[in-house]
């Protein structure tokens, strides 16, 4: 479908095969519409929320800011995983590979090349996207459930390589040098603007970086879903064979999504470990932190929606701050909750809300709406 033909003129006869019922030969005009009234309001509200979040360092405490950073980064990761599993049918349990690579890439660029940390985040994410191309060529050899496990094997390979790589501390990991954490683009600006010391200013800059990254990921994901690519993705979701038969290059489209998700995960990984200022192979390539929790977030929030991961991440961080003191019991509860949701409410919180109210904040479906003559 070409995006230019937003307005179609159809004659009932020309429209199709059931010319028998064509009573009125009058011309009707239709328009392809994606937005809904709710979504237009939501866009405006969301714009305001982003502005508010941007200004948040002025009026929230440091602990809240740290929670916000975590929520934002988890939204970004969950959105990437959602794009893979919810739209492209690629179930990966190995996204920790790209989170870890993004983190290690950042540390390498900062420590070995002495680049600015914030700039290094970007460099590292681009490097991860490039590296995901050869990785993708290997993992795409297997499909379905096998794809899932192979992505995990690949992540293990990178974890093991990081553990024997002496330059960045091997198995025990390493820390960012002090001058790297006190010298950063935007640091002086944040320090002056909010009148805070450099440690707090550093967190504010990273917070803005996380906000920018997440807004970018959500916007790109949404644009992808509204574009031709999104149309192809929903065709793939409905039936791969049928999609292929109308000329969709399934593998190419899945690959594009895979590389974008890797870029997003690399970006998030770099930002998270920039804030931590410490890295180790087990933390950077943790399947629990970067895949299990992220899957939980998407399942709770609602797979296959843009809204789901956002809601899921907020719910997850709230649950965590309320119950994480219970340790293993809390994690068992999370596992049970995820299984229960998957079996009995597979649409997740947002999916249930959306089908009950018919509200979509990020609509992607193209609908034909009749336009009156004149």
């Amino acid at each position: 479908m070409s995006s230019q033909s937003n307005t179609l003129a159809t004659n009932t006869n020309a429209a199709g095969t059931s010319g028998v019922e064509a009573a009125a030969p009058a011309k009707r005009r239709y328009r392809v519409v994606v937005d809904t009234p709710a979504s237009k309001i939501a866009m405006a509200v969301m714009g305001l929320v982003v502005l508010l979040l941007f200004a948040a360092p002025a009026f929230v405490e440091r602990a809240v800011l740290q929670d916000l950073i975590l929520i934002l980064l988890l939204i970004g990761l969950a959105q990437c995983w959602n794009l893979l599993a919810g739209y492209a049918g690629l179930i990966s349990v190995g996204q920790q590979a790209f989170v870890g690579m993004g983190a290690y890439g950042l540390f390498y660029v900062v420590i070995m090349m002495g680049a600015d940390p914030l700039l290094s985040v970007l460099i590292s994410a681009v490097f991860v996207a490039l590296l995901s191309i050869p990785v993708g060529l290997v993992v795409f050899r297997l499909q379905g459930a096998y794809f899932a496990v192979v992505t995990w094997v690949v992540a293990e390979v990178f974890r093991l390589v990081a553990a024997i790589w002496p330059a960045l501390g091997g198995g025990t990991g390493t820390a960012l040098p002090r001058n790297a954490t006190t010298n950063m683009i935007g640091l002086d600006f944040a320090a002056e603007m909010f009148g805070v010391r450099s440690a707090a200013a550093r967190e504010i800059v990273i917070y803005w970086g996380a906000l920018a990254a997440v807004v970018m990921i959500v916007i790109v994901a949404y644009l992808i879903l509204r574009s031709r690519l999104g149309l192809a993705l929903s065709a793939i979701k409905d039936g791969e064979v049928a999609a292929e038969s109308v000329g969709i290059d399934i593998n190419r489209i899945k690959f594009i999504v895979y590389v974008f998700a890797a870029f997003g995960a690399g970006l998030i990984g770099a930002l998270y470990f920039l804030q931590q200022a410490r890295i180790s192979p087990d933390a950077a390539f943790s399947v629990i932190d970067w895949t299990a929790y992220v899957i939980f977030i998407v399942v709770i929030g609602g797979l296959g929606t843009i809204e789901g991961p956002i809601i899921g991440a907020i719910v997850f961080v709230l649950l965590r701050s309320a119950f994480s003191a219970f340790g293993p019991w809390y994690l068992m509860f999370l596992g049970l909750l995820a299984i229960g949701m998957m079996l009995f409410a597979p649409k997740g919180l947002w999916g249930m809300f959306s089908s009950a109210t018919n509200i979509q904040l990020f609509p992607t479906r193209k609908r034909l709406v009749a336009v009156d003559e004149d």
Partner: protein
């Protein structure tokens, strides 16, 4: 001589991996389910054997024999109560549900047994070895290898020589036709998972007798099992043994170069094989 020795140790290690893989292969073969909790089931079974052995002060081997019917029942129940709800669904549901089970088992074991590493103590046989033609074989690795052959041979016989095996194969080939001739797939799946748990118990016994284990080690076992199954060729039982051996030899050669390279070498050989032979070395037609 040293290379021969390394390869022989690798082949014997492959027996252990084939034992891990046999249960996974059985579950996949019958219900097309890739069970991400498979490694955790093995670790769970090892803790069950450990707990029985220390509660009744009996050798772990007898503890395993006692555990068999209970583990069969556990597998049967997990399939009946949880996993049968996922078999009609798309790929995502069974994967995510078994991923959830993995987290529950790991944390449950952590709560019940702490993170300390444990071992099944057999009283000396672990370190015993016999010497043949200048190469020494560990008794335990040899027994593991024999057990792997016995388990896979037993599974083969069950599948191809018994009425139950016919039922399992029929359900695997075509669920709908199996139903037409009066088979209830859900019952068959539950039996298959029960059988898989018997294999898992045997694998757990040899794992626990040969190395330390702790609650976090399931995923590594899953990956080894999965690699052996895929290398051998999907759905091929004896291929699984071959896959285990290839993985074991790769790891042994890697470890001979440097101990840090053991696991890495296995993963890399696996990735190379799927790059060139994505259907494995001995795919079933």
């Amino acid at each position: 001589m040293s290379l021969t020795n390394t390869i022989i140790q690798g082949v014997l290690l492959g027996g252990l991996y084939a034992l891990y893989a046999a249960g996974l292969s059985l579950i996949f073969g019958v219900m097309r389910l890739v069970n991400l909790a498979h490694g955790d089931f093995i670790v769970l079974a090892a803790y069950v054997i450990l707990a029985l052995a220390s509660a009744f002060v009996i050798p772990p081997f007898f503890a395993m024999l006692i555990a068999l019917p209970f583990l069969f029942a556990l597998g049967w129940a997990i399939q009946r109560v949880i996993l049968n709800r996922t078999v009609e669904e798309n790929l995502l549901v069974p994967l995510l549900v078994t991923f959830g089970l993995q987290i529950i088992i790991q944390n449950g074991l952590l709560q019940g047994f702490t993170a300390d590493s444990r071992r099944l103590s057999l009283g000396g046989i672990e370190t015993a070895s016999i010497s043949l033609g200048g190469i020494s074989f560990g008794v335990m690795p040899l027994l593991t290898f024999v057990a792997a052959i016995a388990v896979i041979g037993g599974m083969s016989a069950l599948f191809y020589m018994t009425a139950m095996g016919r039922m399992l194969r029929a359900t695997s080939d075509n669920r709908t036709y199996a139903q037409i001739v009066g088979i209830n797939p859900h019952k068959v799946f539950a039996i298959a998972m029960g059988l898989a748990f018997i294999v898992i118990a045997v694998a757990a016994f040899f794992m626990g007798a040969r190395s330390n284990f702790d609650p976090s080690q399931g995923p590594a076992r899953l990956l080894f099992a999965f690699e052996a199954v895929v290398i051998g060729g999907l759905g091929s039982l004896w291929g699984t043994l071959a896959g285990g051996i290839i993985l074991g030899v790769s790891q042994a050669v890697g470890a001979a170069i440097h101990p840090q390279y053991q696991i890495l070498a296995g993963h890399i050989v696996f990735l190379l094989i799927i790059l060139f032979r994505p259907r494995g070395l001995f795919p079933k037609q």
